[in-house]
């Protein structure tokens, strides 16, 4: 089973537009949207949801006012400052349960927390597993792991040998959860100084977890000098630059129409993404 994840470090470099187009190009695969706190892939793939599942993860402290003697021990010991005036701040609570273990009157219990939903959907490009983390919730990494596990299960059931996932921005918990154990990471970058800075950090994460990476430069003609810098950097690091996509408003127009750009326009953008798929599918 090959699992290809698209990451970027910096947000807004074009991950979802590229993943949407790979969905249209690749045969016999399962799609996964691992950006569980701001998922957008569904806006291009127009899924029909077949299964809607609750995601229960982590716990929240709950104080029984009738039992609480306001001794203050929980407030003193909570390192997340999640208890104030004998009330739990559900956003600050990390669910560690320390307070429930030390309360002398057993006034604190831990209740299970529903932190989001995950979905199995049909699209005209094949199955899609996606999710929605609840607002201001934790455990995005665990929800990502669930999305990946379900995508793998479906691929096995249907005899597909490829999973393509749209990853989150950044380098933290949900990125690590999307990346670890994957077969290949496609890093989508842009020729801006911020894009280069962020690319180096996200490549650092892929080295750390031993996942091979390839780079795709989006809007490469926005700054040719920076594009060359990225190419030189990749050459030194032994990383293939698999595509150089030019800036084109067609990418945004395709988003507005809700279709992958390779199905909307047949210019240089589409040719480069087709070339990218050629490189990574062989």
């Amino acid at each position: 089973m090959r699992e290809i994840v698209v990451l970027s470090g910096k947000g807004g470099t074009g991950k979802t537009s590229i993943v949407g187009s790979l969905a249209a190009l690749a045969k016999g695969k399962v799609m996964a949207d691992c950006d569980v706190d701001a998922a957008d892939l569904h806006l291009l793939l127009q899924p029909t949801v077949k299964q809607n599942n609750e995601f229960w993860s982590g716990q929240l402290a709950q104080i029984d006012e009738a039992k609480c003697t306001e001794c203050g021990l929980c407030q003193e010991l909570c390192r997340f400052k999640a208890i104030r005036d004998y009330k739990v701040d559900s956003i600050a609570c990390e669910g560690c349960g320390f307070c429930s273990h030390i309360c002398p009157t057993d006034a604190i219990t831990m209740k299970e927390n529903m932190s989001g939903h995950w979905f199995v959907s049909d699209t005209r490009y094949g199955p899609l597993v996606h999710a929605r983390l609840g607002i201001a919730q934790e455990n995005s990494g665990k929800l990502v792991a669930q999305v990946r596990q379900q995508a793998k299960r479906i691929a096995e059931e249907r005899g597909f040998d490829c999973i393509i996932s749209d990853g989150p921005p950044g380098i933290g918990c949900p990125v690590i959860s999307s990346l670890s154990g994957a077969s290949l990471a496609i890093m989508v970058t842009e020729p801006t100084l911020s894009g280069i800075h962020d690319l180096e950090r996200v490549l650092g994460v892929s080295y750390h977890f031993g996942v091979p990476a390839t780079v795709c430069i989006n809007k490469h003609d926005l700054n040719e000098e920076n594009s060359r810098r990225i190419e030189d950097y990749c050459k030194d690091e032994g990383i293939v630059v698999a595509a150089k996509i030019p800036f084109d408003n067609a990418v945004t127009e395709a988003i507005v129409r809700g279709i992958p750009v390779v199905e909307y326009a047949d210019g240089a953008v589409s040719r480069e993404i087709e070339g990218l798929w050629e490189v990574i599918s062989h």
Partner: protein, 288 residues
């Protein structure tokens, strides 16, 4: 006053807005910029501060004193993150899973657990002209951004103006960055992606009880659904920045909008005045 800059979707222009707003205010107000996108901090690329100091960010992790441990298994039982396992006479710890809550060491009846510090990032500071600058940096390979953001925010200045650049998304790092703000600016773009993620960001700031307004970036491409949404939800669009490849090219070179195009200084000052009116009006109504 604390103004945070957030977005839901990444790459909509948070850094552009945070740096230009800071520069527009610097001659008139005492202003500091805190880059809270600790996974991918970029404000330094534009402000080019002289970094003069730093403080490592540690989280406490458990260490087992084998001589004292009686292998009772209490620590493993109370750990909500499965960061300790007791197997026969062996105690295994998994530091990357530990949140540093301290339950295991406190509850160990044999006092066999002590805490050591593990570095997960750094907070750095310095000056860019007259602006005081702070940024957090999560160590590459580390998962948890919130402890770095918490330590960064200790440097918020309550007398002057603090501008906090937030990470994208809607989950715990964003909440950590924006909570406690007087106002949150949400930067978006007029596309279905921008709208989808703006709606999520609005839900997040509302849950935290923070007033918000929108900066519409790359206006002119896409559709008008963001404006329709803002009208129906009564969210003010406080500034509109057009789609302009010249702005994008300057950005690519690490040059801020107000430095390259001085006419934008007035517009960002105007943006601040509108935020200030909202915050002052709220403060007045709270005092009554």
């Amino acid at each position: 006053m604390i103004i945070s800059i957030a977005s839901g979707k990444g790459g909509t222009g948070k850094t552009l807005v945070a740096t230009s707003l800071t520069l527009a205010l610097k001659d008139k107000y005492r202003v500091r910029l805190l880059d809270g996108d600790v996974e991918e901090p970029n404000d330094h690329v534009f402000l080019k501060p002289d970094i003069s100091g730093n403080q490592p960010v540690f989280i406490p992790i458990p260490k087992i004193d084998k001589a004292m441990c009686n292998h009772c298994g209490k620590c493993a039982e109370v750990c909500a993150y499965n960061a300790i396992a007791v197997l026969g006479e062996h105690v295994l710890t998994f530091p990357e899973l530990c949140h540093g809550c301290g339950a295991c060491s406190y509850l160990c009846s044999e006092k066999a657990i002590y805490e050591e510090r593990r570095q997960t990032g750094v907070v750095e500071w310095g000056n860019a002209d007259i602006i005081t600058f702070f940024q957090g940096r999560l160590t590459v390979g580390e998962a948890m951004a919130p402890p770095v953001i918490r330590q960064l925010k200790k440097h918020t200045d309550s007398d002057g103006i603090a501008i906090i650049d937030s990470p994208p998304g809607t989950s715990c790092p964003v909440v950590e960055a924006i909570k406690g703000s007087d106002f949150c600016l949400l930067v978006t773009e007029p596309t279905p992606f921008g709208l989808n993620d703006l709606v999520l960001a609005v839900e997040t700031v509302r849950q935290l009880g923070i007033d918000c307004g929108v900066v519409l970036n790359r206006a002119g491409v896409g559709d008008n659904k963001v404006e329709e949404y803002c009208r129906s939800e009564n969210i003010p669009i406080l500034l509109t920045i057009p789609l302009d490849t010249e702005i994008a090219r300057l950005y690519s070179r690490g040059i801020t909008l107000v430095e390259s195009k001085p006419e934008w200084k007035e517009k960002f000052m105007g943006l601040f005045e509108k935020i200030k009116e909202t915050v002052d009006a709220r403060d007045r109504s709270l005092k009554r």
